[in-house]
């Protein structure tokens, strides 16, 4: 339990990586690291995709990244209709890890293009806690 707090509207409540939520509440963005082979995963994973090891450690990651692509959503699912239009982006972080996240409304739409330097930061809104891409 607990993972339903992840995002602006959570669909999944039960997962082995639910601790991500409490880290975000403490303003930390954490990845998982396989204790067997050292593979780093973000978003976090309970099970290593490389060696199948399920013994993981939580490690902080740096949020600096570059935008890969983005969109501005006008037609939204019911739980999101009050906040249209809003921005979504895909960014590349360190070591080739990628993140799908909302882009802060404060980022100027005119600046949006692949390669734009952004930073991933924890964010709390209402009951939810998540991360979003913001200007550096």
């Amino acid at each position: 339990m607990g993972f339903e707090k992840f995002g602006r509207f959570g669909y999944v409540s039960q997962t082995k990586i639910a601790p991500l939520v409490s880290y975000l509440e403490k303003n930390q963005i954490m990845a998982t690291k396989c204790k067997e082979c050292g593979t780093l995963c973000f978003p976090p994973r309970a099970d290593c995709p490389k060696c199948r090891g399920s013994n993981i450690a939580w490690v902080p990651i740096e949020g600096k990244g570059k935008l890969v692509t983005f969109t501005e959503v006008y037609f939204a699912p019911p739980a999101f209709q009050d906040s249209t239009p809003y921005l979504l982006g895909l960014a590349e972080l360190q070591r080739g890890m990628r993140v799908f996240a909302p882009i802060s409304n404060e980022v100027d739409r005119k600046d949006l293009k692949p390669g734009l330097e952004l930073v991933l930061r924890p964010k709390q809104a209402g009951e939810g806690v998540f991360y979003q891409l913001e200007s550096r």
Binding site: F3, F6, R8, Y11, T69, Y74, F75, A76, S83, P85
Partner: protein
């Protein structure tokens, strides 16, 4: 291994079919496929019912569809691969017949979407992506394709006008297809001035939810030769997967690796090259998707898909006519039926029965069907 033939195809009218239930739509397509094959139900020894079952009010619809078609107690089951369900159904039928477990299989692609409220549809669309890592941020089906569109525009200079050309072309042909949802041409201005859905995609860059069914009847080469003098052969079938999460995909997101992989398998199996294809049906769920598909299927080099549109090479009379039945953009997209609908149009082309829409001398046809937000892609190559 013996070859597998398509000996019958059937297609319901697609669109807002408030007159018909799911089972009745399936019956329309199935009955016309039997007529086309000159067979009776007694000749069919199993059915593969293809639908994205989350849209269906009926749970596990194969049961009720098989019953209504009069196919009980013969084997039946559902195949689900989102928008690629019935292209995957074709693959299953190929395997069932190749293994000699069955001789004559009906692939029934069907979907009933318009009786869902728009709220229910939007809620389902919201869960089209990875529900742990992406849906909680308010994703939608168009949002994912819009992200590919923005990446392609930034890298190659593709414009909204380029994308609108896809809609204008496909709606022009849809106007001649009596089974299509939209049988009216549309102007460039109408497409460009339509309301934004997920930028840069606008309303008329998107296909529409629809009700409909399409059916394929397949058999072995020995049986096909006894049944018909106009079999259409399944020469190659390719299927691939891609990470469902966008974050799990590599590269600049200006192409679908999943389609390139599926195409490679299908071309190898059929022993043909992209330039050998005479007519194609590609998955134009969004206008941008058709442009990416040209490139991923090898009809154009990366970034050059828009040039095929500007030079009319994908029009009737061009080098590689694409979506001459109007595509998803005109026909509507009854998710589970779309793959079988594409195959039905190719069969008509390869049998030279496409009337005003006939591609001269068509001998090799290719259909490409993407599932969901690009986690599946199926490429099927047919020969006359």
């Amino acid at each position: 291994m013996g070859r597998i033939a398509i000996v019958g195809v059937g297609h319901s009218k697609f669109g807002k079919r408030s007159d018909a239930s799911l089972r009745e739509l399936a019956f329309e397509a199935y009955s016309s496929a039997l007529d086309d094959a000159e067979l009776e139900s007694s000749a069919i020894d199993g059915s593969v019912v293809c639908s994205a079952t989350h849209y269906d009010k009926q749970r596990s619809p194969a049961g009720v569809v098989s019953e209504y078609l009069g196919l009980s107690p013969k084997p039946t089951f559902n195949v689900e691969a989102a928008c690629a369900s019935s292209a995957v159904g074709l693959r299953i039928a190929w395997s069932l017949i190749s293994s000699r477990l069955h001789e004559v299989i009906a692939v029934v692609g069907v979907q009933k979407m318009t009786e869902l409220s728009s709220g229910e549809i939007q809620e389902l669309m919201g869960r089209a992506g990875d529900v742990m890592w992406e849906s909680p941020f308010g994703t939608s089906m168009p949002a994912y394709y819009a992200m590919y569109a923005n990446a392609h525009m930034a890298k190659y200079g593709t414009t909204e006008e380029d994308m609108a050309r896809v809609t204008v072309k496909n709606r022009k042909y849809g106007a001649k297809n009596p089974q299509a949802m939209f049988q009216k041409p549309i102007s460039m201005e109408e497409v460009l001035s339509s309301r934004p859905v997920s930028k840069p995609l606008k309303l008329f860059d998107c296909c529409a939810n629809a009700d409909g069914a399409a059916c394929l009847i397949l058999t072995s080469s020995e049986r096909a030769k006894k049944m018909t003098d106009r079999p259409v052969w399944v020469a190659g079938i390719g299927l691939a997967s891609s990470p469902m999460s966008l974050a799990g995909r590599k590269g600049p997101l200006t192409s679908f690796e999943v389609t390139k992989n599926a195409a490679r398998s299908a071309y190898e199996m059929a022993r043909v090259k992209p330039a050998d294809v005479d007519v194609a049906e590609v998955h134009d769920s969004f206008s941008i998707t058709e442009i990416l598909n040209y490139e991923d299927l090898g009809f154009a080099r990366p970034g050059k898909g828009t040039k095929l549109l500007k030079t009319n090479e994908t029009e009737l009379g061009g080098k590689i006519p694409v979506n001459i039945d109007g595509g998803l953009i005109s026909k509507g997209h009854p998710v589970g039926a779309t793959g079988a609908s594409q195959i039905t149009s190719l069969v008509h082309q390869l049998r030279k029965e496409a009337g005003d829409m006939q591609v001269d001398g068509a001998k090799i046809g290719l259909a490409q069907n993407i599932g969901g937000i690009g986690m599946y892609s199926a490429v099927s190559i047919l020969r006359a």
